[in-house]
Symmetry: C2
Subunit: 464 residues, 2 copies
């Protein structure tokens, strides 16, 4: 009896093998997968898609697949951009599509217990109708799921004040590769051994399936104020952010665009080629008003010129529309974004060198960056590149841009991934990021939980 | 050749077997260890104390002990209170006493790289002389080491604004049980697989030795303001804190004492038996002033009466003086503190039930609590008990108070340890905290890193 038959015996209609179901989960939105698809080499159909409706059903899938030695590939919203989901003919795709809905909202404790397949946008609509928010707002919010946020260690656009997903998750439930169910305790903080939530956060489907997430919520802020500044250089803008972070200001949104991106997105608001900083402040009225004034002083002291706050309002209105690479790829242009992170003393040089190195590659027609998540000790850089290779080889041009970006980032001692994860695209550089001991440690964890390497093989961990 | 001889061959004078050295590391300050010592049953001397002067030397200790199958017990400042350090005759105590000093302070990046044995107080003196701080200020700061903070998942008195140790550590270095050295990357945030820092944070010496810690610093705040309020009940004070946390205020210090403790510590400032709230606010001038006024409004709305801020100043002046149980124990009174954590909807009942249950135990003469670390979703409770058993059996009285506290905490679904760790004293309740799957997962990690169970055996993990 095949594993698919056994799954169907146990779970009935939760097991799907129709073309529509199989085709829908063949890959996430990694540019390399789209390139392959456009070239007629799309990922194969998997053996089956299973959509458990409960944690217990998900545990059955884990157990049966382990018994049969069959690969399991967890699938959420499919909005990943690093190749974390790619079907293979022998694999079972373990989808959270039927594992949806809010289990509980607790207003006094500011908690929401949410099943992992719940769409981010739908969750926020329900919470905001009650005056609450998770504080997590990725650009992919209309596509992504809360389980995906945990599995990839996502950051949202409001992270500078509210933190990334690891700061927002109070507890979680997960099915481990052997079918056991982990439930961490509903407590605001613990010193009870290593924090087990962190085994699943960033595990990218390799160590189990997140089935339920308990968020520590916030009430919607009493006050939101936006402001914007232009700077003669990207470095001057970075310095304004650094000084603001150092003294403890925490506007949820702190986005600094370089001259190229400022011209593209905020052309009407800033002198040509100037960097552009968008700030959104939130919180209790008096506190926010004080913060706005103090941050404005710091921006001006760093050379910033006050710009029309309408620029920030415009950004707010369109912040949930992820760009699609497909139209560019169809026209023979390889485009992508990638995010890295660095300390303040590194980030300026890293910016210069990334732009110079990627810009010098054959066929590259555009490269630019912005910073969108800041910390006391540094910030991220979000690079956007476009290459129109003469020979039409989009995959090669794309790979070259990524490889050069990763090489430059590693050379500077910076972090190769701020919030999109490793997936397949960054896998060759994981050892440079974690060191050989870090990779060995991750591999030891993997062996301890998934000794047969069945869960999302080919993702995250480099081949041994 | 014994392991001690082999260690001495490799490390010379770093290996100590003199009585003074052996006696100094026999235990931490766990009350049970003091009780045993007073009864003439102090912990035995270990086989040796090794004080490596470098990470490489610490790695040699790990390798030689693994080869010899000899237990390794990491030792920091010895200020632990849960029995995390207890010598045995066959063990090598791996001390960080010679692994001290600040390696680097980077003012632009707000980073300090510190060797694990560095004393917390000395670190803060050096940093504050440069206008910087870690933001971590445990009551034990004059005794404890930065490595100990990481190993126990410590929280400091300023955690409500600045977070606990896991929020302050940007990177760390550790020697694993097989002698490999893990160094995490110097980057402000990463999505590069599960966060490996969290394997060491809270590992209590069972998964390796933290050798170096990189802190993300803060400049000393521009402004510090203190205020205080009294409340007719502990619950009214909790409600004031809950409302303040909910809307996003973050005074670093938020300490609410129940009537018993308020009379003890702040008798001059509050009506008899009233709960007492001490608040310290820090940050940029205008922001702090706004926060102070808004939090005061929330406190008064919850029934708080403004008290003399001098009470808070008095607390600040004496905040680094950990109480000693020894004088009480010598007089036949078993005393201790223990901290648990709970969500807001649970903490009021938990407080009542803890006080009632412990208070009803034979010989208990005093039980009281305060809250000292708050979050959007809950807070901690810091219980203090004293028992004067008729039969003079301090250990039995002490164990009964702990057992009852843990049982009540577990029954409420609350967290059994807020920030002192598990050690030996909480070990019987770890399965109630993490669940059987959580313990199995922790055990799988342990087997993966320390298959022979040589590192700090008897601590954290319950016997299998």
């Amino acid at each position: 009896m095949s594993v698919v038959d056994r799954l169907r015996d146990a779970l009935g209609d939760a097991v799907r093998t129709d073309d529509a179901a199989l085709d829908a989960v063949r890959s996430d939105t990694w540019v390399r997968s789209i390139v392959a698809e456009l070239a007629g080499r799309a990922a194969p159909q998997p053996a089956a898609v299973v959509e458990p409706a409960s944690t217990a059903e998900a545990a059955v899938v884990a157990r049966l697949c382990r018994e049969a030695g069959v690969p399991v590939i967890p699938v959420g919203g499919g909005s990943g951009v690093v190749g974390g989901v790619l079907a293979r003919p022998d694999a079972v795709m373990l989808s959270t599509a039927a594992l949806t809905g809010i289990v509980e909202v607790h207003e006094e404790d500011l908690l929401a217990v949410v099943r992992a397949g719940t769409n981010g946008w739908e969750l926020e609509q329900e919470l905001q109708a009650r005056g609450l928010t998770t504080g997590h707002w990725p650009q992919s919010i209309r596509l992504s799921t809360v389980g995906g946020w945990v599995a990839t260690r996502a950051s949202g656009q409001f992270s500078t004040a509210y933190g990334s997903v690891e700061d927002l998750v109070l507890a979680l439930e997960a099915v481990l590769p052997d079918g056991r169910v982990l439930r961490t305790r509903r407590t605001p903080r613990a010193a009870s051994g290593p924090d087990l939530r962190h085994l699943l956060l960033g595990s990218e489907g390799t160590l189990g399936l997140v089935t339920e997430v308990t968020f520590s919520l916030r009430p919607l802020p009493e006050r939101r104020l936006a402001q914007a500044f232009s700077f003669a250089s990207f470095r001057a803008g970075l310095e304004a952010i650094r000084r603001s972070m150092a003294v403890g200001h925490r506007p949820p949104v702190v986005r600094l665009y370089d001259g190229v991106e400022a011209d593209r997105h905020f052309g009407a608001y800033a002198p040509d080629g100037h960097a552009f900083l968008v700030l959104v402040h939130e919180g209790p009225r008096g506190v926010v008003e004080a913060e706005v004034a103090l941050v404005a002083d710091l921006c001006r002291a760093a050379g910033g010129r006050t710009a029309d706050a309408a620029a920030a309002e415009g950004w707010l209105a369109h912040r949930s529309e992820p760009p699609s690479a497909r139209p560019f790829l169809e026209r023979g242009v390889a485009v992508d974004t990638l995010e890295v992170a660095a300390t303040w003393s590194v980030v300026g040089d890293l910016y210069d060198d990334l732009l110079a190195a990627v810009g010098a590659l054959p066929g590259v027609v555009s490269v630019s960056a912005h910073s969108s998540h800041s910390y006391r000790s540094g910030t991220n850089l979000y690079l956007t590149f476009a290459a129109a290779p003469d020979d039409g080889d989009l995959a090669a041009a794309y790979d070259a841009c990524w490889a050069e970006s990763m090489r430059v980032t590693v050379r500077h001692g910076a972090g190769i991934s701020h919030h999109h994860g490793i997936g397949r695209v960054r896998r060759p550089w994981l050892a440079a990021e974690l060191g050989d001991t870090g990779v060995a440690l991750l591999r030891a964890l993997k062996r301890a939980l998934d000794p047969d390497d069945l869960w999302n093989p080919g993702v995250l961990l480099p081949p041994s």
